[in-house]
């Protein structure tokens, strides 16, 4: 949340938002702990092993999952590797005139990465091809397509949805012209994800804590804190950002609200089907 890239926001605009927050509501009529409409579409990237695009309000994030073959780490010879990367597509915002913000993209990738990594979401042994020799490296690549607030929660939903849609090829070794190849058998298998960790981010404006800010709310917020929760309501990662600070009381209250909101988001991932636009 680098305010240096923000559009100038008039103090009038700012005061109006604060006024509403005092009254417990927001510019689009939502409550402080209410999300915009969430739409999930998966499998639309035909050359990826898994993909999803998620809209929260006007924010759009596309995620594609690809694999590569690599050598396992010596201390986990039968486990594959998962890695996250994020790109802020320059068309996503008029604020990206002089280039999309690198720092924000790195942070977005790391927050999503942590959510996936520490929830034990994926049995990494499912990514093993030949123990000690060859494993799948999964690339979860996040493209921020339309930048209208709350990228973290959107990316988190998109990543988990894309992983849910993954179909990995079964491979067998074939020798052709004295060279050994890994040849797809034609069959595929899913990652058997049985948890849907989601991220809930709280933005602090004055002394109000809100979820799912739209772009202007995001730009005037002093600080934010993201909680990733698994299906048991356990916190698997936290990330604070922004120039503002939080008291212990604010943090504990946010954690409790996150625990209340998580099941709704998890339900969205569980129930998505491929029907958004037909394109």
């Amino acid at each position: 949340m680098d305010l240096s890239i923000s559009k100038k926001i008039s103090s009038l605009e700012r005061d109006y938002i604060l006024d509403l927050l005092e009254k417990g509501t927001r510019v689009d009529g939502r409550g402080l702990l209410e999300y915009r409409e969430i739409k999930i579409d998966a499998g639309h990237i035909l050359k990826s092993e898994g993909s999803a695009r998620v809209f929260i309000g006007d924010t759009e994030i596309d995620v594609g999952v690809k694999y590569d073959l690599g050598t396992p780490y010596p201390d986990s010879p039968d486990e594959g590797v998962i890695t996250c990367m994020a790109e802020f597509v320059p068309s996503a915002s008029p604020m990206f005139e002089s280039g999309p913000p690198r720092e924000d993209a790195i942070e977005l990738a790391r927050v999503v990465d942590r959510g996936i990594r520490h929830s034990n979401l994926i049995d990494k042994k499912k990514l093993c091809v030949v123990p000690g020799k060859e494993v799948f490296i999964l690339f979860v690549d996040i493209y921020y397509m339309d930048h209208n607030g709350n990228g973290i929660d959107t990316a988190s939903l998109a990543a988990i949805s894309a992983l849910k849609s993954v179909q990995l090829p079964k491979l067998e070794q074939k020798v052709i012209n004295e060279q050994t190849f890994q040849a797809p058998t034609g069959e595929t298998y899913p990652l058997d994800i049985d948890d849907y960790p989601v991220t809930i981010t709280f933005s602090k404006i004055d002394n109000h804590m809100i979820v799912d800010p739209n772009l202007i709310e995001e730009l005037i917020a002093e600080a934010r804190v993201s909680f990733c929760l698994n299906k048991n309501g356990q916190i698997t990662s936290i990330q604070k950002n922004g120039k503002g600070t939080f008291s212990a009381e604010e943090l504990v209250k946010a954690a409790k609200n996150a625990r209340d909101l998580a099941p709704m988001l998890q339900q969205k991932v569980k129930e998505y089907t491929r029907d958004l636009t037909g394109m």
């Binding site: 639309h44 990237i45 035909l46 050359k47 990826s48 993909s51 006007d58 759009e60 596309d62 594609g64 999952v65 690809k66 694999y67 590569d68 073959l69 990367m85 790109e87 597509v89 320059p90 068309s91 996503a92 915002s93 008029p94 005139e97 002089s98 280039g99 020799k133 060859e134 690339f139 690549d141 493209y143 397509m145 339309d146 930048h147 209208n148 491979l171 070794q173 074939k174 052709i176 060279q179 050994t180 190849f181 890994q182 040849a183 797809p184 394109m279």
Partner: protein
């Protein structure tokens, strides 16, 4: 251990003379165009051409960054063509490659002739093209998308620009070569991507790799112009759907 490369089909034309995907020699792949798909961009377009899935977002005319690129006597057009890491079979490095820079340049040269850039001194029109899925002919589909995104901004244009390719495969001249058709001759195929200004009857992009006679070149120019007209119709339709006016792109 490397992954085994995909194997190729034995024939490229069916017994009835149609192509692998059922098209006749002068038919386009499925082409779907939609404009206004991005909320923040001043103009935008989604082009689904075959399995290609390409989004273009356009901004401007606006201030140039970095400023030293600005020109006091004319506006500039800056195209950024980028392939998503997951757009191709083997994951693409996120670092922009030489090919992406070349296609950015090529698309820019294809679009520039239809703009009145000299009317916007010191400014830039930026078009960002993101290839989400690539399936052969992305440079042509990107021209199509970029032209629509700019038209969606509402600035005056001399003409639309339609991207389309013609090729010679197994010694037959065919329109809109797909990825599979292109690979079939193992680099021996002839491919000629062009950008056509349909109303002006001008070519703003022309490339060819392969091997043809001067006579075949004439024949290919004829066929690809017909293809350009088909793309142009789809572009107009998409803009009309959003704006419900008839004379877009003139």
């Amino acid at each position: 251990m490397p992954l085994l490369p995909e194997s190729l089909p034995e024939t490229i034309f069916k017994d009835d003379g149609t192509r692998l995907d059922g098209r006749k020699f002068n038919e386009l792949r499925d082409l779907h165009i939609e404009v206004g798909v991005l909320k923040n961009a001043d103009g935008s377009a989604l082009v689904c051409h075959g399995k290609n899935r390409i989004i273009a977002g356009a901004y401007g005319p606006r201030e140039v960054h970095p400023r030293h690129l600005a020109k006091s006597d004319t506006g500039i057009l800056q195209i950024s063509y980028r392939m998503a890491t997951f757009s191709v079979g083997e994951r693409k490095s996120p670092v922009p490659g030489r090919r992406e820079k070349e296609i950015s340049m090529v698309v820019g040269k294809a679009i520039e002739p239809v703009l009145f850039l000299e009317q916007y001194p010191n400014t830039t029109i930026d078009v960002f093209i993101t290839v989400l899925t690539a399936d052969g002919g992305t440079r042509c589909a990107s021209v199509t998308a970029a032209a629509c995104a700019i038209a969606d901004m509402g600035i005056p244009m001399k003409d639309l620009v339609a991207g389309v390719a013609v090729g010679k495969i197994a010694n037959r001249i065919i329109l809109d070569v797909s990825d599979k058709e292109d690979k079939w001759e193992k680099g021996g195929a002839t491919d000629m991507p062009v950008a056509v200004m349909v109303n002006q009857k001008q070519y703003s992009l022309l490339q060819l790799d392969g091997s043809i006679t001067v006579e075949q070149f004439e024949e290919m120019l004829d066929l690809v112009f017909e293809g350009g007209k088909l793309v142009y119709e789809k572009q107009k339709e998409a803009l009309r759907r959003k704006y419900s006016t008839e004379d877009v792109g003139r």
